[in-house]
């Protein structure tokens, strides 16, 4: 039915679009990311990743795009560490390296990990925004965030639990904020 068009509807990703070689970085972030990579400092060594698959090994699912590349990015893993930790609106902040930590350890961090850290270095960003800004599928971002979380490189604020009784003041704040737009 018509819904099969959803992938090309609006500003979504055009069907069959190839995933770019590197993740997108925030404007002006390229240099600092490189600088950090060049000087990994004394931080703990994090072995996050096995080597990436060769480009020739990529194959294309007619619907899904370059599957192998995405799986190689995540080492074939598809599930987040902890259920619900990386909700679409969980807020992620790059952990501020302590005075003695010698900076963010770059060992084992892929450019994709670096890109995520760079995006959320200055202010919290939601998992959804990180997916959009890095141009990576949310499913992949979640796995990468799991690595960063395990390595204590990010902090996570879970969404306000609204399940049964959302806080009255929060609702009032939302209404006032919307009215003021």
């Amino acid at each position: 039915m018509a819904e099969s068009k959803v992938a090309t509807d609006g500003p979504g990703v055009p069907a069959g679009r190839e995933v770019p070689d590197g993740p997108e970085l925030p404007p002006g972030a390229q240099e600092s990311a490189r600088a950090e990579q060049a000087d990994p400092g004394e931080g703990p060594e994090v072995d996050l990743f096995r080597p990436r698959a060769q480009a020739e090994e990529r194959w294309f699912d007619d619907e899904a795009g370059p599957v192998v590349r995405l799986y190689s990015m995540t080492g074939g893993r598809t599930r987040p560490v902890e259920e619900g930790l990386f909700d679409l609106i969980s807020l992620i902040t790059a952990a501020r390296p302590g005075p003695d930590s010698g900076g963010v350890p770059a060992h084992g961090l892929t450019p994709e990990h670096q890109a995520i850290l760079t995006w959320c270095r200055h202010e919290p960003l939601s998992v959804a925004e990180l997916g959009s800004f890095t141009d990576l599928p949310v499913s992949v971002v979640r796995v990468l965030l799991g690595d960063l979380y395990d390595a204590d490189l990010i902090s996570v604020t879970r969404p306000v639990p609204l399940a049964e009784l959302p806080d009255e003041r929060l609702l009032r704040d939302v209404i006032n904020g919307l009215r003021a737009l």
Partner: protein
């Protein structure tokens, strides 16, 4: 709210998030925008926020068929699910994220995740194809998620009274139904405010019932 607006952070990250306040959000809430294909979901999200595309790759494993991990990646089939989202900075430290749901029917598994913890939902009804929004209405009713129905008034479409739409959708009398033009920011705001007020009223009812 001029005193609040004077806090505005100059845009420093061209094309990306341009937070209205320094420091970014400390708390986030989400609202879903649902409805049939072409009902105006993308339009509504775009009229009240800076809209951005978002996609996820989901595994298509047949129900009950275990995924064979040893045979390698080739056995895994994934599909791309695209949706819209936008962020509204409501006040310092508080962000509202809007998610335009992907197509009905094919992507219920994504809806389940989207709906978890949502403040509520806007179901957009296109009066030319009213039945297209039935599955969305069913979905939110079944899960007890507060929702409002926004009747998108397309040019040339027959005009309906709010009560006619309510009857046609067989809605609970308490569910707000609003006429709107999804292209207009003011209308979008009004719909969202109606939703959150509806959610707040439901909260109040639940709280009194427990007392």
């Amino acid at each position: 709210m001029d005193s609040v607006r004077s806090d505005h952070t100059p845009a420093t990250r061209g094309g990306a998030a341009e937070p209205r306040w320094r420091g970014g959000p400390a708390a986030a809430v989400k609202i879903l925008v649902a409805g049939g294909f072409g009902a105006g979901k993308t339009t509504l999200v775009g009229s009240v926020s800076e809209i951005r595309p978002l996609r996820t790759e989901e595994e298509l494993s047949e129900q009950g068929r275990p995924v064979d991990d040893t045979s390698g990646v080739e056995t895994k089939r994934t599909t791309t699910v695209a949706m819209d989202f936008g962020r509204i900075d409501l006040q310092p430290g508080l962000a509202l994220y809007l998610f335009g749901t992907p197509g009905q029917d094919r992507f219920w598994f994504v809806w389940d995740e989207l709906a978890r913890g949502a403040l509520g939902a806007v179901v957009i009804a296109d009066t030319r194809r009213l039945a297209d929004c039935f599955p969305s209405v069913d979905f939110f009713e079944r899960r007890g998620i507060p929702f409002v129905v926004a009747v998108n008034c397309f040019d040339g479409a027959e005009r309906f009274e709010v009560e006619e739409v309510r009857d046609a959708l067989d809605l609970d009398p308490g569910i707000p139904v609003l006429l709107c033009d999804a292209r207009l920011r003011e209308d979008g705001k009004e719909v969202l405010v109606a939703l959150v007020e509806h959610a707040a009223a439901g909260r109040h009812r639940a709280a009194t019932a427990r007392a």
